[in-house]
Subunit: 238 residues, 2 copies
C-alpha cells in the first residue's frame, strides 16, 4: 500500500478525516493551498483528491467561498448511484431492474403501513396528473414523482435514495422509449391505480404484490428485448 499515488493517498486521508469525525458535516475545510501544504503535496494533486471526493458526494466546493463537508446524508452520498444506472448495459439493466423490484416492492409495502393522509393525497395528485396530459416528458416526470413520494413514505431515506438512482431520468427514458410505444400505457395506468388502492387500504401485502408486478412487467419486457436482434437502448452490440 506504500506505492499508491500521491493523489490516491490524499483521497484516503481526507476520507479518513471525514470518517473519523475529525471533519464534521457542514464544516468548512482549510483552503486548497493550505491542505496541499499540510499533506505535503502540490495544489494540483490536492485538487484532484478534492474533485474525487466531490463526485462521491462527500465534499462540496463553492467557488469563491471554500470547500465544505456535505451533510453526509443518503441523498448526498448515493447520488453517484444514478451514474451506475446510466452506464449499465444489456443484461446488467435487467439485474438493476430486479434489484429495483425487490426494493420497490418492500418500500411500497412499508409505505402502505405508514403513509399519512397528506402523502396519500400527493401520490393521488401525481397519478391524476399523469392521466391528464399527453406530453411523454410530463408523464414520465409525474411517474417518477409518484414512486418517489411512495419511497419517501416508507421512512427509510437510504432506500429512497437508492431507488431514486435506480429510477433516474435518463435510465428510465432509455428503457421507456421502446416500452411505452407498445401500448403499455394503459397497463401502467392500471398498475399504478392498483398500487394506490393498496396504499389507501393500508394493505402492505397487496401493495407489495402490486409494486412487484409493476416493476416486474417492465423487467420481463426488457428481458425479452435482449433476446431480439433489435439493439436495446444502452445495449451497444459487440
Amino acid at each position: 500500500m506504500q506505492k499508491a499515488t500521491v493523489t490516491q493517498r490524499a483521497i484516503e486521508q481526507l476520507k479518513a478525516m471525514i470518517g473519523s469525525g475529525e471533519l464534521q458535516p457542514g464544516q468548512r475545510l482549510p483552503t486548497e493551498r493550505d491542505l496541499a501544504v499540510q499533506l505535503g503535496i502540490s495544489r494540483s494533486s490536492m485538487r484532484e483528491a478534492i474533485r474525487a471526493l466531490t463526485v462521491l458526494g462527500a465534499l462540496e466546493a463553492r467557488h469563491g467561498s471554500g470547500i465544505y463537508v456535505t451533510q453526509l446524508e443518503a441523498g448526498d452520498l448515493l447520488e453517484t448511484f444514478g451514474v451506475v444506472a446510466d452506464l449499465s448495459r444489456g443484461p446488467q439493466l435487467v439485474e438493476l431492474l430486479e434489484v429495483r423490484r425487490i426494493l420497490e416492492s418492500t418500500a411500497t409495502a412499508l409505505a402502505a403501513a405508514r403513509i399519512t393522509r397528506t402523502q396519500l393525497a400527493e401520490v393521488e395528485d401525481h397519478l391524476a396528473a399523469m392521466e391528464a396530459t399527453d406530453d411523454p416528458d410530463e408523464i414520465l416526470s409525474h411517474d417518477l414523482a409518484f414512486h418517489r413520494t411512495i419511497a419517501a413514505a416508507a421512512g427509510n431515506d437510504t432506500m429512497a435514495a437508492i431507488l431514486e438512482g435506480l429510477s433516474s431520468r435518463t435510465f428510465r427514458a432509455r428503457v421507456w422509449r421502446g416500452y411505452e410505444q407498445e401500448g403499455a400505457f394503459e397497463r401502467t395506468r392500471r398498475e399504478h391505480t392498483r398500487i394506490l388502492r393498496a396504499l389507501t387500504a393500508h394493505d402492505p401485502e397487496a401493495a407489495r404484490a402490486a409494486a412487484a408486478a409493476h416493476v416486474g412487467e417492465v423487467e420481463e419486457w426488457l428481458r425479452g428485448q435482449l433476446g431480439n436482434a433489435t439493439p436495446t437502448p444502452g445495449d451497444r452490440g459487440a
Copy 2:
C-alpha cells in the same frame, strides 16, 4: 446548464461518450494531452475529469500505458458503494442494514433455489473455517466470504456487488467491534448453520427467513446502541 465549470462539462462529455457506446469497454482512450485539446481545455482540468470518472469506476488509468474504459460491470461501477457505507453514521447505518436485510434475504432465497453442489461445499468450508479459529480478523474474513459466496450463487452480479459494498470490511469491522464483544458469537454461529441448512435443503422460504433474522439481529442491536449514551462506532456525537 451553460454556466457549469469546464471540468464538470468535460466529465459529462466523457460520460456521454461512454454511455452512447462511442467508447467501448476495455477500449483505450486518447492521451490526456490529446483529450484536452479535443475538448478545448487544459490538461489539468482534463485530468480532474478523468480522476472523477476513475473513482466512479468507469475509467482506469495505467501509469505509462494509457487510460482505459473499464468493463463497466457491476463490480467496477458499484465499488463506490463501499465508500457510502464507510462514511455513514448513526441512524443511517441502521437504514443501510435494513436495505441489506432486504437484499440479503432475497439473495439467500434465490441462492437456495439455484446453488450448485460445488458452491454449497464452498459455503460449508467458510463456515467450518470460521469455527476453527479464534483470530477475529480471520473469522470476519470467512464471514464475509460466507455471504459473498451465497450472493454469487443467487446469480445476480449487480445485487452481489451492492451487498459487497454493504458488507465492506471497514463497515462491518466498525459495527462488529462492539457486537461480538457481547457474546453474540455463538448466536451468529447458530444463524449461519441455519442458513446453510436451508441452502442444503434448497428451501428458499427457510433461507429467506434465516438470512433476514441474521441481519435483523445485528440491526436490532445497533438500533439499541443508538439510544444509549455510549457513542456508537461511526456516530460522532455532536
